[in-house]
Amino acid sequence: MPAQRLWLLWRVGVFLAALTPLLVWGWQVAVNAAGPEPGRYLLLNIGIGALWMLLLTLSLTPLTKLTRWKGFALIRRQLGLWTLAYATLHMASYALFILGLDWSLLASELVKRPYIIVGTLALIGLAVLGATSNRWAMRRLGKRWKPLHRLSYPILGLVLLHFFWVVRADLSEWVMYAVLAALIMATRLPPVARSLPRLRYRFSRT
């Protein structure tokens, strides 16, 4: 099979893998296996899913540096857009299933609750990145594209803050994600970033 075809297969495979959790959760709701509050079940699972997508997206650059495998770079835009899709569905679940599409309540909650404000800011940030992820926008933005897309770093911070404010009694799960996020961000510190290719060199020789 020509290489082009293989890369296409890889990208389609990633697409299906990213879609699978949504199908599984949807199926659970459809067969009444999601508990007495299926809306909240979707809200929480999709929210955690969005965080996973963001962490995966942000680990692609360090992984590329570490392995030089082209495949990681090929799915970066796709996973970024999946992050936006999950975050949008998370917000939609809140509006639909928790607030019952009460627009006036939504409007007042959006300005009253700090954790919702922070989550909404993160979603707006993701939407900006999504809208400027196409080739046309990349060409138009030129050198400014990269600094703009570094917005994903503060967005990760906002998402963790949003999550932190929701936690009530036990921080274990949050701490796990915060540590993961810290590790991924640490690979961007200049000294660490410089040493990643060297690490790869050492691995390839042994």
């Binding site: 928790i98 609750r113 036990d170 274990s172």
Partner: protein, 338 residues
């Protein structure tokens, strides 16, 4: 001066059987029952036909007997149409009990490790008749009642649950509170081996879980000490073997798996107030006009619901029990005393 003459039935602390002797007696009785009497008491006689689809529990014989003598439907909702019973599977499969984890399904999955038999409760503090009592001793003098109450969680969801138990007032009266008893303080079991949530290093709760009531709240006839629900004993995840039910307050006030009831002079600091005093107060009366800082309390989602039928309804003042309890708070600013 009040001269108190002890009734023959009054118990002093010295009358309380030491636990070791009590337990050996229990073991002996258990053995006897197993020989044949079990057929008569612990057979498959359903306590109440309404709950024929509720899985039978594993209650000790004395509790089964107690439950079968319950005064059924002693308190029922005014509008049974709107407040129809939540299915047992939902009430027992979806709740908060942080001793077993912070997820809503953690308690049902993990509470099997809780050993509820034998169980004893310490009654102490400002009382003349304190001590350590077995569960059976606490239940014996009282008539069990079935109380169908709305349960409003502070997280804005609600259920309707048929509890079995006795008024807390009866138990407190038996302990003979002194004139200094202004509040009642409750404690949940601490045992990290049985309660995995207590093993977490990142728990924000300082165990034991503590709750408290003002004396008049504790003595109010609606306040229930429950040992069962849905015609059977409490499932572990719902706070077996002994829990509080205060229907006009948010659910977290209704402390589970109680091991200590203390009558005290000063207002106790309850666990949630300790964690987030700006979000959770001592009173925690259901109040649609006072929002939780993170969400509105004006409405609630009655569970089970479905995706496009969130079952949202207006939350009622004092969870609909205002006629019974509003007078307890006359003159109290409920906005600052949330």
């Amino acid at each position: 001066m009040l001269i108190k003459i002890a009734k023959p039935s009054d118990l002093r602390e010295s009358d309380v059987t030491p636990e070791s002797i009590y337990l050996s007696r229990r073991r002996f009785m258990g053995g006897v029952a197993g020989l044949g009497a079990g057929l008569a008491i612990s057979g498959s006689v359903r306590a109440n036909a309404d709950y024929s689809d509720v899985p039978e529990g594993n209650a000790p014989a004395w509790l089964k007997e107690k439950i079968s003598a319950t005064e059924w439907k002693a308190v029922t909702p005014r509008d049974p149409e709107k407040d129809s019973l939540t299915p047992f599977d939902d009430a027992s499969g979806y709740n908060n009990f942080y001793e077993f984890g912070s997820g809503k399904t953690d308690p049902a999955r993990r509470a099997g490790s809780l050993k509820t038999e034998p169980w004893s409760v310490v009654v102490d503090g400002e009382v003349n008749n304190g001590g350590r009592f077995s569960l059976e001793d606490i239940a014996r003098p009282s008539q069990f009642e079935e109380r169908i109450y709305r349960l409003r969680c502070v997280e804005a969801w609600s259920m309707v649950i048929p509890w079995l138990g006795m008024p807390l007032a009866e138990v407190i009266k038996r302990a003979e509170p002194t004139s200094k008893a202004n509040y009642v303080r409750f404690e949940t079991l601490v045992d990290p081996e049985q309660m995995p949530g207590q093993r977490s290093s990142f728990s924000l709760i300082d165990w034991p879980y503590v709750e408290g009531l003002r004396m008049d709240e504790a003595m109010h006839p609606l306040t229930l000490l429950a040992m069962g629900m849905y015609g059977r004993e409490l499932p572990n995840q719902n706070g077996a073997p002994l829990r509080l039910v205060v229907p006009w307050k948010y659910g977290f006030k209704s402390i589970k798996s109680i091991v200590r009831i203390s009558l005290v002079e000063e207002q106790p600091v309850n666990s949630w107030q300790l964690i987030a005093p700006n979000e959770y107060g001592f009173y925690a009366n259901v109040n649609p006009q006072v929002d939780h800082p993170r969400w509105s309390q004006a409405t609630e989602r009655r569970l089970p619901n479905s995706l496009f039928r969130p079952n949202t309804m207006d939350t009622l003042m004092f969870n609909g029990y205002a006629d019974d309890v509003a007078e307890l708070y006359a003159g109290l600013d409920l906005r600052t005393n949330y």
